[in-house]
Symmetry: C2
Subunit: 287 residues, 2 copies
């Protein structure tokens, strides 16, 4: 019997619970969450086999920490204090530098693996959990060399079994790159939503003029502030840099419009069209 | 036999051709396009029954003008010159003020209906045409009172039969509102794509770190520059206004990050989360 503990039963933790259950039939899934309603919901939905508390962590073989990154900073060292020497703990947070720092000098650093599965939806809570969410998705692993070899093997085998593609990276590079391809998208979407909602205060009923294009660009503005505010805080310097570049590009586009240089605007768009080819690349799973 | 002419056999024109064929079995669909390849492709795909030229427009009962808005300005008066007194011509452009102005004093103004179906995808050309694209979608009609009553009836019945919901609006209001819920989304998406592509020049391989969130926010950056540059040109003043508001909101978000006021950032996101309810509203078709 493998005892798997999932701390934080939202979209990400709940989806791991479902996938692990399906590839490790013998595993017992224990759930920990400060939100008692979420814990009961996770039990009702069959995400977990039983509710647990921090005091049960001594039984754990595998611990998944799927909570806001601000909470992880304080809780990860406590979790490592509580687990056995042969247990492995991994997090799934969207920032990696501060999290790796928080456990850098912990006596059980070798029991920890820093991970970031690139998967999710704009929804949150136990009911948002999806079976197969991680299939063909990239999982970024940081500082793999700091995790005990046998525990690396164990967790990487689990990731492989649920269909993930592994990419190794140092925490600083992770945080710099992810600011561009994830964190900035969330801000652009939230601010787009804000801009249009503000307009709607004065001009009623503009939303029935919105189509699927608006819906797509504003989708991430549904995301959980409790998850995202701490991510922006932990990745502040990188996010500000991407925002400055984004704002600069928007200002330049605005100047071209003001000047009436629509040939330049055509060229800007045509150059950016190659995002088509790039996105195709994202969607082709490695055979 | 009803003779329907579709001028411009891209996503929008081609999809109209498909839907009209399915609700008007007796109609013959004639295609006109300056791009001979598109014309042949439309014929091969069964979007149209036969190829036609401008000189055939005298046979037309219904003419759909689905070409870039810049081309419509010059071509619409010519088309009206060529059609019979009982024919009806409608356009589908994403701007309405300049198009309505272009035909305002035409002797056949009563043969024209200004429309903007809120439907589409990021793809273009005849192969992008989709059957049922317009089902439950909003179609904005401008200056309906300027179209002959019997011709209004004829086209509105057609729109109803292919499942569209009709909304009436004056051209200036259309252009002001659509800048927020459509044109701005396209710019935010194009500039997001540009910002990340520029980064990739220096930092290789960041795109396999991108997930579905990035893909969703950047989807519209695949759109056709030939279609969009003229839209931005015709709606310049409104688009610049929305861009200024969007850039202002991004700058304010950046300042909050710089100051480290993540409580305010949390609140910004929480306030914008109500886009969830608004988007739900978009997706519920009127019974």
């Amino acid at each position: 019997m493998t005892n798997v503990f999932v701390i934080g039963l939202g979209l990400i933790g709940g989806s791991f619970a479902l996938d692990i259950k399906s590839v490790r039939g013998h595993a017992e899934i224990h759930g920990i969450d400060t939100n008692e309603d979420h814990l009961n919901e996770a039990l009702d939905l069959g995400l977990i086999d039983k509710k647990a508390g921090m005091e049960d962590l001594e039984k754990a073989d595998i611990v998944i920490v799927a909570i806001p990154v601000s909470t992880s900073l304080g809780l990860l060292p406590e979790i490592l204090d509580l687990v056995r020497d042969d247990a492995v703990v991994f997090d799934v947070g969207s920032t990696k530098s501060l999290i790796c720092e928080a456990v850098a000098d912990h006596p059980k650093r070798r029991n920890f693996l820093a991970a970031h599965p690139i998967a999710g939806t704009e929804f949150s809570g136990p009911s948002a959990a999806l079976k197969g969410l991680y299939k063909h998705k990239v999982n970024i692993i940081c500082e793999v060399e700091k995790t005990a070899f046998k525990l690396q093997e164990k967790v990487l085998k689990l990731f492989a079994d649920i269909g993930m593609r592994i990419r190794y990276m140092d925490p600083a590079s992770h945080d710099r790159h992810i600011a561009y391809v994830s964190h900035l998208s969330h801000i652009s979407s939230f601010m787009l939503g804000k801009t249009v909602i503000e307009k709607e205060k004065n001009e009623r009923d503009i939303f029935d003029m919105a189509g699927s294009g608006f819906e797509s660009t504003v989708r991430l503005a549904k995301s959980s502030p409790a998850m995202w505010a701490p991510i922006f805080e932990q990745n502040k310097a990188n996010v500000i840099e991407t925002l400055d570049e984004y704002i600069g590009n928007l200002q330049q586009f605005r100047e071209l419009m003001e000047k009436g240089d629509f040939e330049a605007i055509y060229n800007e768009m045509e150059n950016t069209n190659r995002i088509k080819e790039i996105l195709k690349g994202i969607n082709v799973p490695t055979p």
